[in-house]
């Protein structure tokens, strides 16, 4: 074969375009960002524990009454952003007399500042994800809600792969481990995956959760298909879901 006939430039151009297309696509961006947000709480908690090694000596039980952000604000600038209840006041005033040295003050302030920054970046990333969904996959976001939509994208790998999945697969996304275990041992297969945490699911009974998972998955697939064609059908889908839940509640009351 004549190797000089190969058009190398065409290959290189093709790959360059494809790399750019893949890495700049909104679904890949959402996946990267949500992977970061999954990891950030772990880092924040670890830093928070290190901070409390020093500060617990002065305020031993303060952390159980206020959130991490409020705690760090209090350590960093002595800014009180929480409501001062009796218990907190007691902790703040009942001082045994332990005081921090200059070094300790500096290090605690620095760690607290780092934690606050990390919390800030996490909030900003969540906003970015929201806007990316709003721009590109509006129906999907409205029906599945942002956190679950993120998880689904992460498991599927890309929006294109999610598009080719039937509703039954989408219903079980996230329960792969138990699903394949059930297949191997000839036991009952799971009923739901990540959609179990959907806000509409919480109020339902166990039997209705299994029923509703099926409907919800089918509506999510419809929403995904609408997003590719730039049609907005989320409102009508939401109405149908609400109607279904009303029916479940009515049946319960009749029984």
């Amino acid at each position: 074969m004549n190797l000089q006939k190969i058009n190398e430039k065409a290959f290189i151009k093709h790959t360059k375009e494809n790399i750019k297309k893949q890495l700049e696509s909104p679904d890949q961006r959402i996946i990267y960002l949500s992977q970061i947000t999954n990891k950030l709480p772990q880092i924040i908690n670890e830093l928070y524990e290190q901070l409390r090694i020093i500060t617990d000596r002065k305020y031993p039980t303060l952390d159980s009454y206020i959130s991490i952000k409020e705690y760090c604000n209090f350590i960093f600038e002595k800014k009180i952003t929480f409501t001062q209840t009796k218990e907190i006041n007691e902790i703040l005033t009942n001082d045994i007399g332990i005081s921090f040295s200059e070094d300790e003050k500096r290090t605690t302030k620095e760690i607290a500042k780092n934690i606050l920054d990390l919390i800030n970046t996490k909030e900003n990333i969540l906003k970015d994800i929201e806007t990316l969904f709003e721009k590109n996959y509006k129906n999907f976001k409205e029906i599945a809600k942002t956190t679950i939509a993120c998880k689904m994208l992460e498991i599927a790998g890309s929006f294109e792969r999610l598009l080719s999945m039937p509703a039954s697969t989408i219903q079980l996304l996230g329960s792969e481990k138990s699903f394949f275990l059930a297949l191997r041992k000839n036991k009952k297969t799971p009923k739901y995956g990540v959609i179990y945490n959907h806000p509409l699911m919480i109020t339902l009974s166990k039997k209705n959760k299994a029923r509703f998972a099926r409907t919800l998955a089918s509506k999510i697939t419809l929403a995904i298909k609408a997003d590719i064609n730039n049609v907005y059908i989320a409102d009508s889908l939401q109405e149908k879901l609400n109607k279904k839940i009303k029916n479940y509640n009515r049946d319960n009351n009749e029984n």
């Binding site: 074969m1 290189i12 360059k16």
Partner: protein, 201 residues
């Protein structure tokens, strides 16, 4: 068995680097082709002038060594991941006999127009469930008459049965489309893998 630019010293494989002309150690734990060489495979169909299609090239560790062997030929590396293809693209800038192609190897009809010639050897290293089907699709379109295929089968990717059963099943499947020349287990280097060399019928 003599291979161009490959030396065997004390059961360790080295290649003569294309760029620096120094000898370079080939790690069998990272490259399945080298592991197969170390397990004494009887035939090695890659020569100085061959043109290779490598499916599942990843970042190009094995391909870089094959490019040392194929000094007067070409290697076309196909992979689906943009992340690893970025590194492979940079490698192809250094080594002029490598050509990158970011496509899905399970859909060869997508790059049929671009790859409009036949190659001598197809090497496949994609850990997928339907590996032989993928190989069949690609060989039908791109392999010469009597061309060779080199396939690394990952048994755990196919099913959770015992490896021996899967190997028997898959080799029977392989025999339908290709002539088996030799196969080896890659046992201490890659667990539950076999490496098959075949020829197009």
């Amino acid at each position: 068995m003599k291979i161009n630019n490959v030396y065997n010293e004390k059961e360790q494989y080295f290649t003569k680097d294309l760029l620096t002309e120094k000898k370079r150690y080939w790690d069998p734990k990272r490259s399945k082709v080298c592991a197969a060489l170390k397990k004494n495979i009887s035939v090695f169909p890659i020569e100085k002038t061959s043109c290779i299609l490598y499916l599942g090239c990843a970042e190009g560790y094995t391909v870089s060594y094959l490019s040392d062997i194929v000094t007067e030929g070409k290697i076309i590396g196909v992979d689906f991941s943009a992340h690893s293809m970025q590194r492979f693209y940079l490698l192809s800038q250094k080594r002029k006999n490598i050509i990158p192609l970011l496509e899905d190897a399970t859909r060869p009809e997508k790059y049929k127009d671009l790859l409009n010639f036949k190659v001598d050897v197809i090497v496949q290293d994609v850990s997928q469930k339907k590996q032989i089907e993928i190989l069949k699709k690609n060989t039908d379109l791109f392999l010469k008459e009597n061309g060779y295929v080199m396939l690394s089968l990952k048994t755990t990717a196919i099913s959770q049965k015992k490896p021996k059963e899967i190997v028997d099943e898959e080799l029977n499947n392989f025999k339908k489309h290709f002539k088996i020349i030799n196969f080896v287990k890659l046992d201490p280097f890659e667990k539950k893998h076999i490496f098959v060399i075949g020829q197009k019928k």
